[in-house]
């Protein structure tokens, strides 16, 4: 039972995964730019939070930094706050 990280190419594999996720994140920027409503933009930001957690987890393996899992944990906890603020505070006319 060999795990993935025993392989010599594991670092590159994890980096490739992180890069792939980063590409999807950059593609998501297009939705933020286009809109058309504020809600669509917040949805894209929500997806960004999750993708960011994924990238951090992949990087934690690629860079052999255990602390990055903590960063991912914090991001997972706090990414929802912006969404809650949006829903509670933008009670006025939608832009």
């Amino acid at each position: 039972m060999q795990t993935l990280n025993a392989m010599p190419w594991a670092t590159n594999f994890w980096l490739a995964i992180a890069g792939l996720l980063l590409v999807t994140l950059v593609a998501g920027l297009w939705r933020i730019w286009r809109g058309p409503t504020a809600t669509d933009r917040m949805l894209a930001a929500q997806l960004f939070g999750t993708t960011g957690v994924g990238i951090l987890l992949a990087l934690s393996q690629a860079m052999q930094q255990v602390a990055l899992i903590d960063v991912a944990l914090v991001l997972a906890l706090l990414a929802v706050i912006a969404m809650v603020a949006f829903v509670k505070r933008m009670q006025g006319p939608s832009s």
Partner: protein, 324 residues
């Protein structure tokens, strides 16, 4: 592989910044700003600075985004009072020469910075080696915590003083109208979410604070998480201002006072200001950090909650100036 990832990340960061600056819609700028914070956290990871990534994830994704959404929502809610007002104002259109001048100066700034980066002088001492050398004397194992709270604790002491000044200014600016905020009706789902999410937030905050003495983490990151948890509670409609108000008076200054007390009480034993006796340095640092976390969390939260309630502008020149 490494380089490709970094180049893509840097370009994405610049794109995001451009998106913040050149959005006609203010809300788009805010969402771009949240994305910018997330990407910046990833950049800190790539720069081998997990501490900064932690702080940026807590502050960029949590606090700054909330603050800015709040401000923009406030602006758009007020614009609804006088219809026809443009949500987005790009300011007066400058003449041609006054367009060229900013471009020119921005390019000059960029070139100067490039020059400064390229022809940097060699540092006479190697700071990382110095830190590694004296790390055993500091009482903690994580070099960044050692720098922050032992070798350069002046910075930290002054920083908490600056935060204290900021919050005092914010309290002074608060208008005395204390009408209840609109839209604070309790949503059962949101209520449930906060009941489940805030306890883990507090636990993670304490964990990050505790982890700070041997791995990335510490008072600032823990404080940011604590502040985010409080902000979340307030957004979910829990009336924690009453509690916070009484807690605030004690909590705001506590970190600063404790830090200053410890810093001066070591002078009784004949030591210089802000140096801890080696035998108890670790305990003292942890004690100070715990107080700092508490204070930073409360300060950041009260900077959020002291915002004026959304009331219509009182001035008589509403319409004219807004049309710009």
């Amino acid at each position: 592989m490494n380089l490709a990832f970094d180049v893509l990340l840097g370009i994405a960061l610049l794109l995001c910044a451009a998106g913040v600056f050149y959005s006609r819609d203010l809300f788009r700028a805010v969402v771009m700003f949240i994305a910018f914070g997330l990407l910046l956290a990833l950049v800190w990871v790539r720069l081998d600075a997990p501490d900064l990534a932690l702080a940026e994830a807590a502050i960029g994704a949590g606090l700054t985004g909330v603050l800015m959404i709040d401000a923009v929502a406030h602006l758009s809610a007020k614009n609804a009072h006088h219809q026809g007002a443009q949500f987005d104002q790009t300011g007066a259109r400058p003449q041609l020469w006054s367009r060229i001048l900013p471009v020119f100066s921005a390019v000059i700034i960029f070139i100067l910075l490039l020059g400064a980066i390229w022809w940097r002088p060699d540092a006479p001492v190697s700071l990382p080696d110095l830190v590694a050398e004296s790390l055993p004397e500091s009482g903690v194992e994580h070099p960044i915590t050692a720098v922050l709270l032992n070798f350069r604790s002046y910075d930290t002491l002054l920083e908490i003083a600056v935060l204290l000044v900021a919050v005092v200014v914010a309290m002074a600016l608060k208008p005395d109208t204390s009408e209840p905020e609109a839209g604070n009706s309790k949503d059962p789902i949101l209520h449930g979410l906060s009941a489940r999410l805030v306890p883990p937030m507090l636990v993670v905050g304490v964990y990050i604070l505790w982890a700070g003495s041997y791995m990335p983490g510490g008072a600032f990151q823990g404080g940011a998480i604590l502040a985010a948890a409080l902000v979340f509670l307030k957004l979910a409609g829990f009336g924690i201002e009453r509690l916070a108000d009484s807690l605030l008076r004690i909590g705001l200054a506590l970190g600063f006072i404790v830090f200053l007390t410890v810093a001066t009480s070591v002078m009784i034993g004949g030591r210089p200001f802000l140096t801890y006796p080696e035998s108890v340095a670790g305990e003292l640092i942890f004690f100070i950090e715990a107080m700092l976390t508490f204070s930073i969390g409360l300060i950041l939260f009260s900077l959020f909650s002291q915002a004026p309630p959304p009331v219509a502008p009182t001035s008589s020149l509403q319409g004219e100036q807004d049309e710009r």
